[in-house]
Symmetry: C2
Subunit: 356 residues, 2 copies
């Protein structure tokens, strides 16, 4: 019998088709064309800095200058931004409708100087540098009174909406409003907190660690798990075990531990799924300034930052648009069993060699 | 300056990139391989009824028998259903989590006996027959006390999650819960009603008919419009002008008028976009039984059934998953301008011949 499971955070129902479960080899992706060297025509490669808009920030070797070689991580404005940092919000109504100017930032964070699709994950120091740059950038954007949220995400592979540029990069969108998906989560966490006086994410972590069915990594204060109500096959969340609503407040030693579990998670997923397309998103609390307003009073107690990694293995999006329902053919317990056993390697498992 | 627009119903913000507006010819799709005849290997073609599960309902010529030739519209159970009509809901909790059995219906409604990708839209009587069948089926499912919602949708084209079967068909999913997207809309309409004592959809229709910027068809009690807060290029809604929350209460003469505007809408969209992939969804109120509960008291006053047609012209889904934001490069006013001028034809406009 298939199950309908209710996401405890935002109330979304997901159908888990337990009986028609697919094995990960049904989804195994061939490797992308990888190049270890630099690429002459790629604007994100070291040496090609003049092909991009001026650098906004970077993690650089000492003595090197902006827009020149010598960087490990580099932040630049998007070449085709859909938000602009100029001007005021100018919120107003028009009859029944509300609107404001599209003020905000749209930035590209190049994760590695090499054109290789995997380098930044191979090298732990690179992930740490990248995380440090993200933390610094969020702190910087937070000072802009017009902005309410900084959304950091990565679209990997064309299916996942990734651009044609194979060079590994993340995107950052800072907006004057909180994205609906984040807001839904905030509202859900708030309701739970009001009822229980506890953080829902902390409660989930506690139950998952007891049940041992969906957590595949539990190291140095972080866990990686396949959520109970996974919308996608092999959906994976990484959460700090210590309660914290703001990603940017992560400490130096935590950055090391977070980078480690992130690397191991991608390695395990790659070992099972090959070079799979995915969307990864950082979920963190909105910027807060007006301390006294009800909305902000408990956010530090009721929200909990985390990373969501959503492999795009099925044409599920089309169906979801059509039906309003997510249909996930791989129960998270099944995905977790594969990931627990998976080797931590960036070598792709050869397709077609199923375990059972 | 781009705009952020707030959807008045569910509170979702959409970025409208007014300056980088694309013209519809940038998206023009080549025609799909069309076949006017029947197809030997297609289970949905007339004469191949034995290739499907037993027929549940149909619109048939007099004297013809179920599972034989002689039908115009035919409803069958899905070959790979992810919900089952057997068993009880068995709602229960498991620690923090809630679940229930996946009780429900998953049906295929074959829209035409011919294998032609366009036939059912070409023929007005066919659309009327299809609509009549849908109405009858919803009324039938409504009697099942376990069910709360009947979701009817069409995924057209592979990009939109449509199956490989080119033969025109719709899907019906009946569930014991209300899908989140519908619920969000219900909650939004309720809040508006509580504040204004008016239906938000009625207010939208009134304002749109005054502004004349986003309505491209206004005939016989129905309008077709590109909503103010369109998430997708050429997103189109069809609404009855007369307030009604339940699609299945549509009268006989209304079925004729609805079928006519539906046909004209698809013709106009096809004339501009070619054989475009899309998701179309019927949004109607959930089944109601317990009259006294607060949730049901005002639904007849505050909700308004409608059809949403979402062309899938951009890889927007990937970005939306990644960012939580929809980015629509075609302002609805622009889309509407094209659709107002578009001929009502099912011939595809030849790609590359831009108007300006």
């Amino acid at each position: 019998m298939p199950q309908l499971r209710k996401d405890p955070i935002i109330g979304r129902w997901v159908i888990i088709a337990t009986e028609r479960a697919k094995r990960p080899t049904d989804y195994c992706f061939p490797g992308a064309a990888e190049k270890g060297e630099l690429n002459e025509s790629c604007p994100f490669c070291e040496g090609n800095e003049s092909m991009t808009p001026h650098e906004l920030y970077a993690s650089r070797k000492k003595g090197t200058r902006p827009d020149k070689s010598g960087w490990l991580v580099r932040g630049i404005p998007s070449i085709s931004p859909f938000l602009s940092m100029q001007g005021d919000l100018d919120r107003h109504g028009k009859g029944i409708y509300d609107l404001m100017n599209g003020v905000g930032a749209h930035e590209i964070i190049v994760a590695t100087p090499e054109h290789d699709t995997g380098t930044y994950v191979k090298n732990l120091t690179r992930i740490e540098k990248l995380t440090e740059v993200l933390v610094r950038r969020i702190k910087e954007l937070k000072k802009d009174e017009r902005l309410k949220y900084a959304l950091i995400f990565k679209n990997h592979g064309e299916v996942a909406g990734g651009s044609n540029l194979q060079h590994q990069h993340l995107q950052l969108i800072a907006t004057p409003v909180t994205p609906l998906r984040v807001k839904e989560e905030l509202v859900g966490s708030r309701q739970y907190y009001e009822y229980k006086d506890r953080c829902i994410f902390c409660d989930i972590i506690r139950q998952e660690l007891q049940e041992k069915q969906r957590v595949f990594l539990d190291i140095d204060g972080f866990i990686a798990m396949n959520p109970y109500c996974s919308r996608f096959p092999f959906e994976t969340w990484i959460l700090p075990k210590k309660h914290s609503c703001d990603f940017y407040k992560i400490g130096r030693s935590e950055i090391k531990n977070y980078s480690k579990i992130f690397q191991l998670t991608i390695k395990k997923l790659t070992s099972v799924l090959g070079n799979f397309p995915y969307n990864a998103i950082l979920h963190t609390a909105p910027f807060r300034r007006r301390k006294k307003r009800g909305y902000w009073e408990t956010i530090e107690a009721d929200y909990h930052w985390h990373i969501e990694i959503m492999p795009r293995l099925t044409q599920v999006a089309g169906f979801e648009w059509g039906s309003g329902f997510y249909i996930n053919p791989v129960p998270p317990e099944e995905a977790c069993r594969y990931l627990k056993e998976a080797k931590e390697t960036l070598e792709k498992k050869s397709c077609g060699k199923a375990k059972d």
